[in-house]
Amino acid sequence: MAQYVCRYRKGGELRWVGHLDLKRTLERALRRAALPLELTQGHNPHPKLSYGPPMPMGVTGEAEVFSLHLREALPADNVKERLNVQLPAGFEVMDAWIVPGYKRRETFGELDVAEYRVTMPTAVSVAEVQERLQALLARDQLVVTRRGEHEEREIDVRPMLLSARAEEAGEGRVALHLRLRTGSHGGAKPGEIVALLGACDPEAARIHRAGLYAGAEAPPPEAPRPQTALRRTWGRPRRGH
């Protein structure tokens, strides 16, 4: 038995495919790839898969992760290649590696910081956007309204906005680099920050998740390559949840 972590890219039209639908897509691709999947026991056996924090609808990403279990230890590159042949356009495993020491389940719970690159079509200058970002960062609270299934909730996303900067992207566009807290313990959505900035229609912004990291308290001054970040945190003892 072996456990693998795959880092994947979600791009193109696939960004309109939600997290649950993406999971189903992967399960079907795994069956087409005829990999020796380890299945759960019970009435409804299914492959043992876990995923990193879900992305909002419409967002592309290149640092996304899932893990899978196989009944036999195949070379990681072989798993990657066999899977990529069966994945639809826009869904690509960039890197796969075997987890040293078999774990029953990996939840990726330690991934709690996401780095986003947002491209906004806007008439607002990059300097003005930068100023507005500074103003947001200087505030104690940034309250946004989220629509749940039954009610609207107000949430302060200021603690989840870790860093932000703007740069010129050409052709009437400004790029944002946002570092946001994410994951199951609460997080900010990049669209919410775009809406707070008021520089473009949030629906017209192109949002890309460039990295996922573990450890929010001391964000590294320079983003390490996503896969490195993951490998680095891999051996770390798990915190109790």
Binding site: D21, R28, A29, R31, H43, G90
Partner: protein, 586 residues
Amino acid sequence: MNGQILDFETLLARVSKPARYTNGEWNAAHKDGGSVRARFALAYPDVYEVGMSHLGLQVLYGVLNSHPSFLAERVFSPWPDMEEQLRAHGLPLMSLESRTPLREFDAIGITLPYELTYANVLNLLDLAGIPLRAADRGEGDPLVIGGGVGGVNPEPVAEFFDAILVGEGEEAILEIAEAVASPDRATALARLAEIEGVYVPSRYDYVPEGDGPLGRVLPWDGAPERIPWRVVEDFDRSFFPTRQLVPFLETVHARVTLEIMRGCGRGCRFCQAGMVYRPRRLRRVETLLQQAEEAVAATGYDEISLLGFSSVDHPDIGELAERLVARFGPEGVGVSLPSLRADAFSVALANTIQQVRKSGLTFAPEAGTARLRAAIHKHVTEDDLFAAAEAAFSSGWSRLKLYFMIGLPTETEEDVLGIADLVHRLAGFARGALRDRRGRLQLGVSVSSFVPKPHTPFQWAAQDSLESLGAKQRLLQQHLRDRSVKLSWTNPEASALEAAFSRGDRRVSRALECAWRRGARFDAWGELFQFARWQEAFAEAGLDLHDYANAALPTDRPLAWDHIACGVERQLLEREAARALAGEGA
């Protein structure tokens, strides 16, 4: 931002389930349009999740795209939120695969799967910027070609189509594509008219002979008087799509579908599909195993559904089920049957195949008394039903679903109460059989309203009035009180509209257009269906919906669909109708 031209991507951010309008699903075809002779947009007049569960669409898509000279892309009815965006930004309806505006295709092939989608057919054409009526189309417009079970009586939509295929499509579609490849519209229409099973409505006139669907469809010079229902001769070897499209979105049926049998030898007198899809044809076990092998490998689905009007009647069903389970069970791929015959054999079969997953079982006794079941020619005895239930409960099922109909011809109050009585006795029996597991007993009782359908022995029968159907529903509700029973209904008003279209003539197309202009969309969706709108539309068109739905039609007068020759001749239908009224079986 209203009024401003937006790119489609931004628009996707504003609608629910944007993946309904994107492409790139596994097995989607991406062909170069430059090298083909005819380009089809295959349209399904309902939302993506429903249309993608329709096998017919996948068959035609597969046939056309396997041919080097033809190309097919897909389009589905946009949900109202997307329609609003398209109209607000002046964007035309586009195909999924290459996002090409529909009006740039050579032909739009529209499936007519059930009557309550007809308003969506008009909406598709309008959103595509194609004139609604065939008579208003010209050289630059695509040919609009219909098909599917709606071909049984194409009259209510006839004037919106350049041609309609009456009958089975997997062979005819290539002949149709050759005709579509003609250099001009007139030649194409002439060639379409020569294809067996193709009805070109513009070559016919309708001569009404009274209110309701009494009248004749008469050919212009040279056109055949009757259109024969197209039948695939060698069903076993006919095209079957093993590279089935795998949607991203959760669809109604996400599974490999194997069509094991076409047609049904049972002859239930209310059942249109059973009457017109004849003769009953089978696929061989070896063919089906091969298709299952290819389809599972090509899709990665974890379920194989054995499709047929009465799959259990396939003579080799036992062998097929055992071999599929032996082959795919170890891989976690399950096998399922859409519905079961109510007898112990069926349950034993379900037991064989549902080792992987145990879902509920579904039986359709249709009527509550033996007398009425005989009159409608539904051969289910109480002994069979109780034997099926016993087998089900003793092998671990505790969920059963039962289908019944109210408003059937010759039905009396006794028959309606018979449904309640039968369900009560079944529930009591189940509690005894389940004993310690009784808390889990669930009996789903689904009651629909009878709709008279063309080319069945009941085509002349009146649909019950809304008042009568309502009274029967209340009667059942009063008499069917049991904590394990969950009673559900179809809306009688929707059934009335279904009946009016099912038995509609060409004049009904006026009401259809009025209703669409008044905003009718997605009438099969309870939350969007408004009966008042349809009543107003019929009135505006100078028609009475009830003349079509609720009139008992005389058997000695011509009917608006007599020009469609479905294989079962009118004399036989008349004889069967007389037998039903006399309370005889076949």
